[in-house]
Structure formats: structure tokens, C-alpha cells
């Protein structure tokens, strides 16, 4: 009896939910579709369709400033991802397994960059670099903002994200597996390499992917700490959009979109291949 009533209500609810899901979906994707469609617009007016053209792509890709911004973005993303994956994983492991002085403080503060607003972080970093430069310059060198300050800043926030993701994985990790490895004559290092690392690898990979995305995505912090010649692509897009939306910007954005989709698909494929490959490979 109660079951029948529930099924009736459930069906109506389901229909509403399905409709609602489509609304949300449209809300998310219509702007993207508009952006992609208008990037192929031959007219220079953004909101009037003047026929299909790849012209704006050619324009964007031959723009030296854009090319240089892409290069900066990629270098910063790569360096900050590699460094923050190593450091973030190390911090996560330390917090998970060792009791040491200052552990609780570190545990509480390591996540701070995630919760404080970008703008605060940006100002903090800028002030920090200014003070640091003053100190170092007093010994001779003349340091300025540039690609390394951008990379350092991205490392600073990415460590926290990697750390959070890896720790979530470590929380589920069964420590008796490490004891089993030790019991089976593995040294501490072999235990880490053959048991711990492979089992937390999905967390490390996810953290790395997140770091890569966040770095490629960042505007506010990069805008503050970059100097002449170290403009990242998002910063370039943001600064030129203030001069008006151009079809060229649509083209760049579409390319960025394609790149991030490729990134996600690539990482999925990688994970799938690793899963099936490791079924065949030997332990050593």
C-alpha cells in the first residue's frame, strides 16, 4: 500500500528533477556554446553573426603577445605542479604518520591558502616579495617580479590543494598493509615504493591534475605577482577584455577550453591504461 503511493509520488518527482537537471545543464553549457560558436564568426562585431571563418584563430595564433603568454602559462603550470606534488605529498605523509613538534599548528594552517580569498593571498604574496627583495637586494642583486615569482606563488597555493587530496587518500589507507610488507621482509623504503606509493597514487595524480588546472586558471594572484614579460594567458585575456570583448578572445578561450578537455580526457585514458596494464605487470 505505502509502496504504491510512494511510487506514484516518486514518478512525478523524478520528472521534475529530470527537467530541473536540464535547466541546470543549459545554465552551465549555453554560455560555452555561445562562446565557441562566435569564435568562428567572420564579423568583427561580437554579437552579430557574419558567417563562418577561422580568421580569428589565425589572428590569435600569430599574435606574439599571446604566444608568449601561453608559454609563460605552460611553464608556470608545469613547474608549480611538479614541485607542489612532491612537497604536498611529503607534507601529507608527515602529517598523517608522524607526531612532531608543531604538527597541530601545521595541520591547521596548511589548508589556509584554500580558504583565504585569492585577493588576500595576492596582496600577501606581493608584500612578501617586496620585503624579501628589499632584504636580498641589500646584498647586491636586483630582483624583480617575473616568471619565478608567479611560479613560486602558484606553488604556495597548490601545495595546500595537493596536501588535502593526498591526505584524503591516506585517511582510507590501511596501515596493516605496510605492516604486512614489513613482515614479508620489505625494508621501509621498499614498503613505501611497492605498497604505500602505488596505493595512494590515484590521490597524488588527482592532486597533480587539480594543481595543473588551478595554475592554468589563476588570474588574481598571477596578475599581482607577474612582471613585464611574465604575463600568463588568463591575465592577458583579463586585461584585454577590459578593452572590449573581441572575437580573438573568443578564439583563445575556445582553445583553452579544448586544451582543458584534452587534459581531462588524457588523464582518464592514462588512468584506465594504468589500471589494465598493472594487471599484467609483475611486482618488480
Amino acid at each position: 500500500m505505502a509502496g504504491v503511493v510512494e511510487v506514484g509520488l516518486g514518478r512525478r518527482t523524478r520528472r521534475w528533477l529530470a527537467a530541473w537537471a536540464w535547466v541546470v545543464f543549459a545554465f552551465l553549457y549555453v554560455p560555452i556554446v555561445v562562446l565557441v560558436v562566435f569564435s568562428f564568426n567572420s564579423s568583427s562585431r561580437v554579437n552579430i553573426w557574419g558567417g563562418f571563418s577561422l580568421g580569428w584563430y589565425g589572428e590569435a595564433l600569430s599574435n606574439e603577445v599571446i604566444i608568449s603568454a601561453v608559454r609563460v602559462s605552460l611553464i608556470v603550470a608545469f613547474v608549480s605542479t611538479v614541485v607542489s606534488v612532491v612537497l604536498g605529498t611529503a607534507v601529507a605523509l608527515a602529517l598523517d604518520r608522524y607526531r612532531f613538534r608543531g604538527r597541530r599548528t601545521l595541520d591547521g594552517t596548511v589548508y589556509l591558502p584554500i580558504v583565504i580569498p585569492d585577493i588576500t593571498m595576492a596582496v600577501m604574496l606581493l608584500v612578501f616579495f617586496a620585503e624579501a627583495f628589499k632584504l636580498i637586494d641589500s646584498f647586491g642583486p636586483r630582483l624583480t617580479l617575473g616568471i619565478s615569482t608567479v611560479a613560486l606563488s602558484h606553488i604556495a597555493f597548490n601545495i595546500s590543494f595537493v596536501c588535502v587530496v593526498v591526505r584524503a587518500r591516506l585517511d582510507q589507507f590501511d596501515r596493516t598493509l605496510e605492516e604486512a610488507a614489513r613482515d614479508l621482509y620489505a625494508s621501509a623504503w621498499e614498503t613505501f615504493r611497492r605498497v604505500t606509493l602505488p596505493l595512494i597514487m590515484p590521490g597524488i595524480a588527482a592532486g597533480g591534475l587539480l594543481a595543473l588546472t588551478l595554475s592554468l586558471d589563476d588570474v588574481v594572484i598571477s596578475a599581482f605577482v607577474s612582471g613585464p614579460g611574465s604575463t600568463t594567458l588568463p591575465v592577458y585575456v583579463f586585461s584585454s577584455i577590459r578593452r572590449g570583448v573581441t572575437p580573438e578572445l573568443n578564439a583563445i578561450s575556445t582553445l583553452m577550453l579544448a586544451a582543458s578537455i584534452a587534459l581531462v580526457l588524457g588523464s582518464l585514458a592514462l588512468q584506465r591504461r594504468r589500471a589494465s596494464a598493472s594487471q599484467q605487470t609483475q611486482v618488480l
Binding site: 605492516e179 614489513r182 613482515d183 614479508l184 602505488p198 596505493l199
Partner: protein, 355 residues
């Protein structure tokens, strides 16, 4: 002349975790080739004792030898022992074969010896055909076999098993008990087996060590532990028993608070407070007045009857005490609640436990 050296020798070992004393001054020697069970209620320190033998926990004080060699502080990879963990702890990212190979690879054993030993281990636990599966594609019983093979393939001198059957259902558990026993006889090495199931311990092991609150209370064969418990705790924990408070009267007899006299051997001086342990299945009921075995009987009144099919359990009021009598193979309904009866037993069935 050389003394046979013990497989495991634990000397005054204590393990403290902050303010918890998990293992309290334990002395124990386990013989070579023995199937030894550590038995006790939850939290009594069985796992901690086993982990100290494995090297996964280090003793706070005391010394620990394996075949005469001091290993108390040695890391686990330097001890000739292997462990079957409570929840198996199989490596989820490796196949059955890779799990079993792990120990040999860590010790740099090369083919053809490697594959030969792995094949033997797989055959021994009857897992042929499962080599390429992952642990999550195996049933509980199969996982347990992998855990056994993974440990035994290393040919340890001592195999440690922490409640290896705890996660299995009753039927599989009984099968595995037999299989484990047979396996131990085949490989001939020392098994140290942790369990909180007293029936399992009695059925499987050659000797049992009973633990409580970190202390080792008694070590003996299943028969010794069951028939001659050294303390109230052991008498009560192993099987069911009636513990009757009594005072030692003269050598060979004790007196209950009701004044009744029971014959029982004891070395405790007269006047000491003791308890008499009477196993329910070693006692019988007779109508009052038909029994004449003085010193081996108590008069009482049936208070409650529980019918179990294969047995009938009577609760008999004896003075202010209650005695459980278990009767098997009874025909008809010889007694009813309220009947005046005599509880009797054979000479030697009543044992005195002093503490």
C-alpha cells in the same frame, strides 16, 4: 648434550602503550613444531603479544628469543617469522601470484626457484587457477588461503596467525580449522594462533595459553586447561562451569556456605576461601533419596528447565546457590520444576580453584 631449543621464548615481557599495560610480565616458551593457541577475551593482549613476536611492536621491557636468537628489538624483516593478519591484509593492487611472490622477491629469490616455490604454495592451499585474480575477486575463504600461502611460501620457522578464522562463517570456519591443523602437520613448523574462541582453541591446538588483562594465567594442554583450571577466570572462561564458593575443610574436602561437604583434592591450607568448579555436563540429576554418594552430591530443587534438543539444562537451587546440570541422551521427561532432586557427580569431577 643439548637442550631442545624453544621456537619462541618470551622472558618477562611487558608492553606499555602510554598508560595502558597491554602485556604484563609474560613468560612463555613455545616448542618447536607445536600448534600453540593464545586464548583470552577481547583486549587481553593477545594481538600485542603476537605483534611483539613478529616485530611489529617492540617490548617495553623483557627479552624475546626465536630459536635461541635474541630478536626483541629486531625489525620485522630480520625475523624468521611470518604473519597471517586478522583481516588478511592482502595487497589490493597485486594479483594472487604477486601477493604470494612478495616475500620471496624482497629476499631476492630468483627464478626458477621463485616460480617453483610459488607454485608449491599455490598448490598447497588449493588456489590453482586463481593466480591472476585480485584479492577483491576472491571469497573470504580464498583470501584467507592467499594470506596463508603468502606467509608459508617464505618457509618461516614460526607462523603467527591472528584470529585467522574470525571473519569466516561457521561452516567454513570448521572446515578451515581442520585444514589448518592438517597444514601444520604437513609443513611441521610452529604455529602460534590467536583466538578468543575457546572451542576453536581446544579443538585445534596442542597447548593453550590463557590470557587475561595482559597477564598469562595458565599454559597447558586443552585437557589440562579444561579439567584442571588454575583459577576462577580460566575455569569460567573455558567452557561452562558452576563455581561454588567454599572454604577448605581438611585436605581432600571443602565445605560450602550451606554446610554441605564436598570431596575435592587441594593443596591449599585449611580455612582458605576457594571455589569449587563443577562442569554442568559432568553432573547428573536423580530423585532425592536415591543417591548415596556422600561427598559427591548436593541436594536441591529443580527451578528451571531448558530444552535444547540434544541436551536438557536444569537449573537446580542448592541452598542459596544455583547449580546448572546438563543432561544428554535423556528419554522422556524425568524431572519437572519443583522436584526435589540430588545433583551428583563422579569422584574427581569437582576441582578446587584457589584464585
Amino acid at each position: 648434550m643439548t637442550e631442545p631449543v624453544a621456537a619462541v621464548e618470551i622472558d618477562g615481557v611487558t608492553k606499555r602503550f602510554d598508560d595502558v599495560v597491554a602485556v604484563d610480565n609474560v613468560d612463555l616458551a613455545i616448542d618447536d613444531g607445536e600448534f600453540f593457541a593464545l586464548l583470552g577475551p577481547s583486549g587481553c593482549g593477545k594481538t600485542t603479544t603476537l605483534r611483539m613476536i613478529a616485530g611489529l611492536d617492540l617490548p617495553t621491557t623483557g627479552s624475546l628469543r626465536i630459536f635461541g636468537e635474541e630478536v626483541g628489538m629486531a625489525p620485522p624483516d630480520r625475523r624468521p617469522v611470518n604473519t597471517v593478519f586478522q583481516a588478511y591484509a592482502l595487497f589490493p593492487h597485486m594479483t594472487v601470484r604477486q601477493n604470494i611472490e612478495f616475500g620471496l622477491r624482497m629476499r631476492r629469490v630468483k627464478d626458477p626457484e621463485l616460480s617453483q616455490r610459488v607454485a608449491e604454495a599455490i598448490a598447497m592451499v588449493r588456489l590453482a587457477g586463481m593466480e591472476e585474480r585480485r584479492p577483491d575477486q576472491l571469497s573470504g575463504g580464498q583470501q584467507q588461503r592467499v594470506a596463508l600461502a603468502r606467509a608459508l611460501v617464505n618457509q618461516p620457522k614460526v607462523l603467527l596467525l591472528d584470529e585467522p578464522l574470525g571473519a569466516l562463517d561457521l561452516k567454513l570456519r570448521q572446515e578451515m580449522q581442520q585444514e589448518l591443523k592438517a597444514l601444520q602437520r604437513t609443513v611441521g613448523i610452529t604455529f602460534v594462533f590467536v583466538t578468543h574462541d575457546q572451542e576453536e582453541a581446544l579443538a585445534m591446538s596442542e597447548r593453550i595459553g590463557v590470557m587475561s588483562e595482559g597477564r598469562l594465567l595458565q599454559v597447558g594442554t586443552p585437557r589440562e586447561i579444561y579439567e584442571r583450571p588454575a583459577s576462577r577466570f580460566v575455569a569460567d572462561f573455558i567452557g561452562r562451569t558452576n563455581l561454588l564458593e567454599a572454604t577448605v575443610d581438611s585436605s581432600g574436602a571443602v565445605r560450602l556456605s550451606s554446610g554441605a561437604r564436598i570431596e575435592a583434592e587441594t593443596s591449599v591450607p585449611a580455612g582458605s576461601e576457594v571455589a569449587v568448579s563443577l562442569r554442568p555436563e559432568r553432573t547428573r540429576l536423580q530423585p532425592r533419596g536415591t543417591a548415596s554418594a556422600d561427598g559427591h552430591s548436593l541436594d536441591g530443587e529443580v527451578r528451571d528447565i531448558t530444552y535444547l534438543g540434544h541436551a536438557v539444562v536444569y537449573e537446580v537451587a542448592v541452598g542459596s546457590m544455583s547449580v546448572e546440570v546438563r543432561s544428554e541422551g535423556e528419554v522422556g521427561q524425568p524431572f519437572a520444576a519443583g522436584d526435589a532432586v540430588t545433583v551428583s557427580w563422579d569422584r574427581g569431577a569437582a576441582t578446587v580453584v584457589a584464585d
